[in-house]
Amino acid sequence: MLRELVKRWAIYKVLGRWLSHFFSYLDRYFIAQGNLPRLNEVGLTCFRDLITKEREGEQVDRALLRNVLDIFVAIGMGQMDQYENDFEAAFLKDTVAYYSQKASIWILEDSCPDYMLKAEKCLRREKDGVSLYLHSSTEAKLLEKIQHEFLSVYVTQLLEKDNSQCHALVRDDKVEDLSRMSGLLFYLSKNKERFRLLFKIPRGIEPVSSLFKQYVTAEVTALVKQAEDAASNKKAEKKDMVGLQEQVFVRKVIELHEKYQAYVNDYHTFHKALKEAFEVFNKGVAGSSSAELLATFCDNILKKGSSWKLSDEDIEETLEKVVKLLDYISDKDLFAEFYRKKLAQRLLFDKSANDDHERSILTKIKRKCGGQFTSKMERMVTDLTLTRENQTSFEEYLSNNSHANPGIDLTVTVLTTGFWPSYKSFDLNLPPELVKCVKVFREFYQTKTKHRKLTWIYSLGTCNISGKFEPKTMELIVTTYQASALLLFNSSDRLSYSDIMTELNLTDNDIVRLLHSLSCAKYKILNKEPNTKTISPTDYFEFNSKFTDKMRRIKILLPPVDEKKKVIEDVDKDRLYAIDASIVRVMKSRKVLGHQQLVMECVEQLGHMFKPNLKAIKKRIDDLITRDYLERDKDNPNLFRYLA
């Protein structure tokens, strides 16, 4: 047997060589003669045999094949007709027949992943073959044909197999097989027209979509895990480094999403699958919810000195993509609250890089989540525009009323209550200089409008003051709180903690934060007694007249209070009202409703903002029963009645 094989192989080889010589000869001298087709046929027959042999795994002289093929191409004298007509057509026909036979056997024998594995192997081998001994123009045609044989013809059967096996795949975490399946999916979605029938079969595509979902889920989970690891590694180091990690994570998620969205096209089932796959993302990373991560990501792009250094077009594009991800955030209300908080910071502290981008992203969010979602944010941006106009007229007012001028440049940002995040307004005792400023602005504002009440939020203010230090006079950029504390030292040299506290009328927390920033942080404007790293209520403070720095203008940071907890608390509170309102709305229209339907309708109503959990809804139902909005039916405990 073996001898026979070797013998035959040798014969082919000889034959092939002979053919090769023969054709080169022809090539050189008899190209114009009309007897070519006959010779070609002879050569082709041998050649086909050879290729079939190779497919079956026998060793063939590839160089020989290549030579023969070159001759075919050369015969055409630069024109591909000869090659295409004589060889390629026959070759492709052969190929199809060969694989069609193979596929029909495999589809019966093998499991779906094995089948896909074999198909993929064949494809790869043919691809190699093409590059080795076929003309490159054949490659696309060849692969297309083979794909057709393997996938199109048997797609329904494949999918049926899927049904039973995809679960096992996922369970065993066979990511590679899954990726192969998602390749199938890609093929399907690229050739939508051809598989229209399939898409019409009810549940026809479901197995694939579920597989797809599981595959993407695995990828997202991997990203989340990667980010978690990175976050936990970085924890020990600087805090903002963690922030950066998370930004990278969001970026990766965006990329992943872009990649798979290409597969999805416009099939509803796949959209759903993709959405479900990104549920993992929803949970967030390292204690930060995804809503917060996205809001922070936007903030990073939109603020001055963004770490990404993007061009305007890139920013637009990135924003577009971020907003797309909003689809997968179930806590949209939380995103809105974080976004509003960050937006407020950008607007109030003049950190926003570009007004147009601010408005552009709001338009995008609005398109996605509706007008109600962005109305407050839009009004915030508008408020700031109004403030600029207001400032101009305030300056005019001052120049017309020179007696009123407080002698200090004053800019006031008037915000509309309700649109902005809520800020605590404390009765800080302002220094007399600033009291005058406030008075002047109040008077000015009175002339513009009679019925509005101004509430001052000093915690958001900034002051530029000049410090007359012995080495040189410096300009200090500080918050209103810090300024008020420093100005106290105009009239006294030495003050105790409690002096400062009573003078300023602030809480312990604020005073500690404030004094720490002035006496224990980077710049020591105040000398503290005793000279320790922390503030205690028994400390004394003195103006540090020796203080200096190589800069002439320094900014003394007051670390912001961590507002994350407050944002989450606020959102939770808003949710209670939202659930209450939803239950009452549903019950008002239905009068009597079963518990499960009630829960379902509430989830549906609230879904565009957040995903209320069953417990929260139940708790609200309990509460509404206590408040006599609802009662439980006397005979059926799962039925509620609305009490008008």
């Binding site: 518990h595 499960q596 069953l614 417990k615 309990d622 405990p637 799962n638």
Partner: protein, 231 residues
């Protein structure tokens, strides 16, 4: 009084039949007895009632309890209140007193004391018990517009009314109520829910408990707490 007197005099005239039936005689006799009984019930009422308010007040109830040799926190006193349909905790009005004692056919302290075991049996009949259980909650609402009862009182009340029937459930639920922080008060729905829970749910494996159903959240939490404790 006047009505029964007039009936007595009017009866012979109004009887159409010539031979006055034994039933009539009996009725008139029993009516006489009823009157007497009512008088005695009233007399008993006034022996405990507060002179100025003309109500039996907490002091009066304590006196009554000690005369019956029953503790005033005994569940049977709550049952007595239920029988009287007493509105206000710690007080019996004349009307309520008459309603209860007449139904119990008791016109002396001794008879009342002897009627208590029978009353207990009556309350424990399933149809009555739900009513009694629900009454117990309402009876504890002492303030105007009060709708819920604080955890501590609820625990005592549960022990009192349900302790003999569902000892285990009550003990664990009371323990849960005392360790949790989510609830400071219990409303009527939750109260009634717990009774349904005791009757319907297999304890302590909770095999037929489904949190998807409309059980008050506090019971979902209780079951969760129990399961965590068991594992």
């Amino acid at each position: 009084m006047r009505r029964s007197a007039s009936r007595k005099t009017g009866q012979p005239n109004s009887t159409p039949s010539l031979n006055s039936s034994p039933a009539d005689l009996f009725r008139s006799a029993s009516s006489k007895a009823t009157t007497k009984e009512l008088e005695r019930i009233d007399a008993l009422y006034y022996s405990y009632a507060n002179g100025s308010s003309a109500m039996i007040d907490p002091e009066g109830i304590e006196a009554l309890c000690s005369d019956m040799e029953v503790d005033h926190t005994d569940v049977r006193i709550l049952m007595l209140a239920w029988k009287m349909k007493a509105e206000k905790q710690g007080y019996f009005s004349l009307e309520e007193w008459r309603r209860g004692l007449k139904a119990l056919r008791a016109d002396t302290v001794n008879k009342l004391k002897k009627a208590l075991p029978e009353l207990e049996k009556e309350v424990k009949r399933p149809t009555n018990f739900v009513d009694f259980y629900s009454y117990a909650f309402r009876y504890c609402l002492t303030e105007e517009k009060q709708k819920s009862i604080d955890i501590e009182s609820i625990c005592e009340l549960l022990d009192l009314v349900l302790g003999s029937q569902f000892r285990e459930q009550v003990d664990f639920f009371v323990e849960y109520l005392k360790t949790q922080n989510d609830y400071k008060v219990i409303n009527n729905d939750q109260w009634m829910g717990f009774y349904r829970f005791c009757n319907e749910i297999s304890f302590p494996d909770f095999s037929n408990y489904d949190p998807e159903l409309a059980w008050p959240l506090i019971l979902d939490n209780f079951v969760e707490w129990m399961l965590a404790k068991q594992s």
